[in-house]
């Protein structure tokens, strides 16, 4: 069954997490996605995780610096519906493949730019690695940790917001094109990815008060959800939710065998606050319990909790498996690998993993060949030596 993006061709000129994973979200809904790399490949390929983020696409090389490379790229643009790039503002223009040049070659092209900072921002010319945007945006200072000061975010939070803006921006523009017949220039940035994740935290309310701001205020030690992390036996941790969508058949205290606080001490408190007050007694009880058994008992009594695992342990989660989110992908170098599946579940037009990360230049012959380039031309475009057979015939 064709995917929702059946027949849509995407050129992925990005490098780094935000562009690669943003493109993947769209690619695996049935698009024909081509990774366009400089000769020798995208430098991020050295990172193993990139095998996941750049799967489900084909790969061509092109040396964009010369006239021939620019012409070839514009030729490829003529066959495409979408182009995504993640250079600093102005770089693509200097290479002669900015929005104006590409739109002239293909007025229906949706051209998506994903720099670190938006064009016109005072930092637009500066390097934009994820942690730099964490620092410059203020996000590191917003995360409490085990010491005062800014906390380095181990998860690349700005990039992981931006992936959704890339995918949403591309799709919204494709949808608009169905009405207008025209492509357009869509721009987002890692900085906007930061803002996306501030919705509960960064607000200024003219007539605000402590009630409005109180729940989400930053605190040391961390508040709100941190007190619901508990240590079980053998230094295994779990996180309990104060709501499960169900009516518990036993209270947490009954399951743990601790005395509940008298009602006069919890009157007027949110459930979360009431539970925090009991932490000491609970903490002691948790430490006597084995985590897996306790979670099973909690779930059997309509509570919900999750084991705090390492990232690689997520693949054993029975519900993640049930969601088709644990997939086997035959990597061209590494054999059978376990990777996440497709996280957007369209029941009428299901997406799917198209294939592993392609080798650098895997589709040079096929894709440049479609545009009429012969082996010698392709060798020049891709900075490679011409194939021996072709040389022999020349």
């Amino acid at each position: 069954m064709p995917g929702a993006l059946d027949g849509v061709r995407i050129l992925d000129l990005t490098w780094g997490a935000a562009g690669a994973l943003g493109v993947l979200l769209v690619a695996e809904q049935g698009a024909d996605t081509i990774k366009v790399e400089p000769p020798g490949g995208d430098p991020f390929r050295g990172y193993d995780g990139y095998r996941v983020w750049t799967r489900s696409r084909r790969a061509v090389q092109v040396d964009r610096r010369g006239d021939a490379g620019r012409e070839a790229l514009l030729g490829l643009v003529g066959t495409a519906d979408v182009l995504v790039e993640s250079f600093r503002p102005g770089v693509m223009d200097r290479l002669g493949v900015g929005y104006e040049a590409c739109a002239a070659a293909n007025p229906r092209l949706v051209y998506c730019s994903v720099p670190a900072y938006p064009p016109g921002h005072r930092k637009a010319g500066r390097p934009g690695y994820d942690a730099l945007v964490q620092a410059a945006s203020g996000q590191q200072w917003e995360q409490p940790g085990w010491r005062p000061g800014p906390i380095f975010l181990a998860m690349p939070v700005p990039s992981m917001g931006t992936i959704y803006l890339v995918a949403s921006g591309v799709l919204a523009a494709l949808l608009a094109r169905e009405r207008t017949g025209r492509g357009q220039h869509v721009t987002t940035s890692l900085l906007q990815g930061v803002f996306l994740y501030t919705t509960q935290l960064w607000q200024h309310i003219e007539r605000g008060n402590a009630t409005l701001y109180g729940l989400m205020a930053k605190s040391h030690p961390p508040g709100v959800h941190q007190p619901m992390i508990f240590e079980c036996a053998d230094r295994e941790f779990l996180h309990i939710s104060v709501m499960s969508g169900k009516t518990p058949t036993k209270t947490l205290d009954e399951i743990l065998g601790v005395e509940p606080l008298p009602p006069e001490q919890t009157a007027g408190l949110l459930p979360l606050q009431a539970q925090n007050m009991m932490n000491e007694a609970r903490q002691a009880a948790f430490k006597t319990r084995r985590r897996a058994e306790l979670i099973a008992e909690l779930v059997a009594n309509n509570h919900i909790a999750e084991a705090i695992v390492t990232p690689e342990e997520q693949f054993a989660h029975p519900q993640l498996i049930a969601n088709d989110m644990v997939a086997t992908v035959d990597d061209r170098d590494r054999g059978a690998t376990t990777q996440i599946g497709v996280p957007i579940h369209l029941l009428g037009t299901p997406g799917g993993i198209v294939g592993p990360q392609p080798a650098v230049g895997a589709d040079d012959t096929a894709i440049w060949g479609e545009l009429g380039y012969g082996p010698d031309d392709i060798a020049r475009l891709t900075g490679a030596a011409a194939p021996a057979a072709a040389r022999g015939g020349a």
Binding site: G120, A176, G183, G208, M216, L320
Partner: protein, 389 residues
């Protein structure tokens, strides 16, 4: 004209992972109608988390558990292109608002349910909160640097809720695109569990079960390694990102560290060097040396980020008048469109803010409206409005 103008979405969601996606779709020009319980969205009492997920929507206060309310809801569905909610599994069927019921009145509707866990499977009937899926995806383990003896730590940004919501935005847009080309609607779903897994998607297991090598947070939560971490200076902190051997050598040279080859020793010397000057001074020095860096900015709980001159000029923040709260400022446009610019229409609505207008569009008379309100089927703000916002 915005990209999604002319399209209507009905938002039956509450809390965060439901309403956030429709808010972003409203920013892109969709006519989003929040169908809110007469007693209010369960998140209203929480303040900022509620206000952060609702702007740009019209709001009808409607009791869909009442047959007359359900009838009105389905009459609205018949006018909609998409239906969106985060009810737990089975709830929409019980209410008479599942995909089959909606498709019966709008055959090409796009129907999206954002779950905690998923459509089928051992935990699919449960709800849950954002940090549980920071736990299941390994984020809390890594954020706390548990391998160094610390406790796990949750991220404060609620980004798994947002991840689920944004997966639904991408899914709804893909489904609407398919519908525009084929005339076919469909059902889709996303989940918090999957939304967390996206954040750990660079993890991969090889055939023998060993994972890919990934950088790990240091014990002081400063970064991954001496070339990619925060350093404390005389007056604050600076983030360094010296990528590759050349920039690492430049970093060592700029800070007077003689031997870049012994990284552990160099790190100790770098720490000492950085403490001798202010963060801004070091930033200029590293800029001159070609070493990527940024001073870690303390934005005072977001206050200075929301009033940053570039953010204001570029539309990254937005401000509107709320009927009771005065001026309300939040993040602004997240995506910019050259041909179909987005629109941020206005403040989070009060319960039933637009009930009368929406009911009038359905052809309900003034007399009927008053009768429905008297029976508690619909509501709109009046002198007895119970909420401050």
């Amino acid at each position: 004209m915005p990209a999604l103008s002319g399209l209507r979405l009905l938002d039956f969601g509450q809390y965060l992972a439901g309403p956030f996606g429709p808010m972003i779709l409203a920013d892109l020009g969709m006519d989003v109608i929040k169908v809110e319980p007469v007693a209010g969205d369960g998140m209203r009492m929480a303040g900022t988390p509620f206000l952060g997920c609702q702007r740009g929507k019209r709001d009808i206060g409607l009791n869909i558990k009442d047959p007359a309310g359900l009838d009105l809801a389905l009459r609205l569905v018949a006018t909609a292109d998409a239906v969106h909610h985060n009810m737990t599994k089975g709830t929409a069927t019980r209410l008479g608002l599942d995909y089959e019921a909606c498709r019966a009145v709008k055959p090409d509707v796009v129907y999206c349910n954002t779950y905690a866990y998923g459509l089928e499977g051992p935990l699919s009937s449960f709800g849950g909160l954002d940090p549980l899926y920071q736990a299941s995806a390994g984020l809390e383990y890594e954020a706390g640097a548990v391998q160094h003896g610390h406790d796990p730590l949750y991220y404060r940004f609620g980004m798994v809720d947002t991840s689920n919501a944004m997966l639904s935005v991408v899914g709804v847009l893909a489904a609407l695109f398919h519908r525009a080309r084929t005339g076919e609607g469909q059902e889709l779903w996303t989940s918090l569990l999957d939304g967390g897994a996206v954040f750990s998607s660079d993890v991969m297991l090889f055939a023998d079960g060993t994972p890919t090598v990934r950088p790990k947070l240091d014990a002081q939560q400063r970064g991954f390694d001496p070339a990619y971490r925060l350093y404390e200076t005389d007056d604050g902190w600076i983030q360094v990102a010296a990528i590759g051997d050349g920039q690492w050598a430049a970093l060592c040279a700029a800070t007077g560290v003689a031997d870049p080859h012994d990284r552990a020793d160099a790190e100790v010397r770098l720490e000492a060097a950085f403490r001798t000057k202010t963060a801004v001074m070091w930033s200029h020095t590293l800029d001159d040396a070609g070493v990527p860096n940024e001073v870690a900015l303390d934005v005072d709980g977001g206050e200075s980020a929301l009033y940053d001159a570039d953010a204001e000029r570029l539309g990254l923040v937005t401000e509107y008048e709320h009927p009771t709260l005065g001026l309300l400022r939040q993040f602004g446009e997240t995506i910019n469109f050259s041909d179909t610019p987005g629109q941020i229409v206005g403040p989070p609505p009060r319960v039933g803010e637009d009930s009368r207008q929406i009911l009038e569009e359905l052809g309900v008379s003034e007399t009927e409206m008053d009768d429905l309100k008297a029976r508690g089927v619909v509501t709109w703000p009046d002198d007895d409005y119970p909420w401050g916002w």
